[in-house]
Symmetry: C2
Subunit: 166 residues, 2 copies
Amino acid sequence: MDGLNKETDVIRQARHQPAELDQIDRKILGALAADASRSYAELSKIVNLSAPAVHDRVKRLKRDGVIKGTVAKLDGCKLGRTLLTFLVVDTSSYSATRNLLKFSDRAEVEELHTVAGDGCVLIKVRAVDTEGLESFLMEIQSLEGVRSVRSYITLSTFLERGPAPE
Amino acid sequence: MDGLNKETDVIRQARHQPAELDQIDRKILGALAADASRSYAELSKIVNLSAPAVHDRVKRLKRDGVIKGTVAKLDGCKLGRTLLTFLVVDTSSYSATRNLLKFSDRAEVEELHTVAGDGCVLIKVRAVDTEGLESFLMEIQSLEGVRSVRSYITLSTFLERGPAPE
DNA sequence: GTTTCTATCCGAACAGTGTTCGGTTAGTTT
DNA sequence: AAACTAACCGAACACTGTTCGGATAGAAAC
């Protein structure tokens, strides 16, 4: 027996390394990313495998974290949120940035990232209306250490989806 | 019989007006927006109704378009896409904007909006690496009528979700 | 070459969930 | 009062998700 052991699936899993994805995996991921309500019978027809085989693969993809979960896509407008805006907030200190991260528990905040470049924090906000956006904006601007806020108010959305598997 | 007829559910549906959402609807929506794999039995416990009652409500919410569908959330990094960037493209003509909209069929493009303000189009791009972003950027910049491109390269993502039902 | 181990697949059986149905209640309009 | 609608429930049904044992193929170990 030499020093190089066989790398089994269990060992790989312990290292949190996902298995390599073949074309079948990517087809399944693409199908589920577009519509997660598809049955295993449907998926099995798409990739020409049996339902249990597809089930095994999906199970592995979930275990490895490639599939992080399944969520319902809601219509923001029909929920009463009509105004989508991206804010780029320029801060002067780390503590100011930290204060901004606290806004992630607001209902109108959908995304919150730190970014390199001119700004420091990027926020995707879906407000009820212009009034709701205004009060949110003023709250941000009044924070200690916030130098400037650039607003990109969305007119039309042409695409909104998650990562594509290839 | 006076001129005002009763507005039934069928009539309202024909007008594409969603029914008003009560607290139970919003609880269900919140639960499904966080995890769409929850069973009706689980949901029924959350809102203190029977499974068929929850089923009826979900059916209505789907029919009215409040629930647009269910999708699998994929891990961009584990798919090999490590670099998330927001681009704000400033264009000088409508035809240039139209050309930008064609980029919505690219695998690395996740969102594409037209925006008011300084820029005209906002694109969320998940590229494989810096090299992939660079080639994408150069393709955009070389388009006729593109005046400038502002890039916001994401360092860390703290929140990424869909619209919240209040 | 042989053995052993792993990953992957399949068909069949099982368990669990989704879905439909009839009946009841409550509220509103005629 | 009568008629209609919306909403709920329990029970039954149909379907899908899931597990199981067995077969195959490939890689590593001997």
